[in-house]
């Protein structure tokens, strides 16, 4: 089962995404702030991380910088309602795929599947085995 970590301070969105992703067959964990999220990512492994890029406290870019170190191979999909060009390029430089809010569920699941396929391809190339 694909394990997804969702980090967002909007509990309504967390509940909605948890319900939808669980129904779609994913295993979901949620956390509502960046500091607890980096601890959880250091303790557990996930297949993909969904991250609200604008949260109070620890900002999305800072969370990504830590996540890239504690779980370097896990794809991160950034969710944001605000898309400034500078912010977008900063996130993309860190290898984050950006999805704008409101989240369209079909787009989100497609991004998750694409991110996991890309990760498997990368791992297959580095291990010399064919991708599944």
């Amino acid at each position: 089962m694909i394990k997804v970590l969702i980090i967002d301070d909007d509990t309504n969105l967390l509940n909605f995404l948890t319900e939808e992703l669980t129904d779609a067959g994913y295993s979901v964990k949620t956390i509502d702030n960046g500091a607890d999220a980096i601890v959880m990512a250091a303790e557990q492994t996930f297949d993909v991380i969904l991250l609200d890029m604008l949260m109070p406290g620890l900002d999305g870019i800072q969370v990504v910088r830590v996540l890239r170190k504690v779980s370097p191979k896990v794809p991160i999909i950034g969710l944001t309602g605000y898309v400034g060009r500078g912010y977008m390029s900063q996130a993309m430089d860190l290898g984050v795929t950006i999805l704008t809010k409101p989240v369209v569920f079909s787009e989100l699941t497609k991004e998750i599947e694409d991110a996991i396929k890309n990760k498997q391809k990368t791992e297959a190339v580095s291990s010399g085995k064919p991708a599944q």
Binding site: G34, A35, I38, V39, A42, E43, G57, L58, Q62, R65, V66, K69, V70
Partner: protein, 120 residues
Amino acid sequence: MTKILVVDDEKELAQYLADQLAESGYEAETALDGVEAVLKAIDGNLDAIIMDIRMPKLDGINAIKIIRKITPDLPVLAFTGQAGQSDIVESVRQGAYTCLLKPIKFSELLKTLELMGASR
């Protein structure tokens, strides 16, 4: 010069320790919570970290856990104002070299830094 990061949410204490370390021949900087410490550990160039356990945002135990993952060889010395065993045991379990009790004796701090391999 050996560079030490002092992490404490008591700004005055962090600055006092950093000033004392600077006078003793170290390069020292401060961070005021665990998150700032983790981000500074990512930026690199540190030779050791001295970290309080009880802090807001991200406490010392969790910060040590994350720093161990990011830079496994960077020595971390914990300190706490709590007299009980739990902070000491848990910080060492997460990879701290040891855990000193507040108020910190500066001579003891210097000696511990040298034992940790962070000599001046």
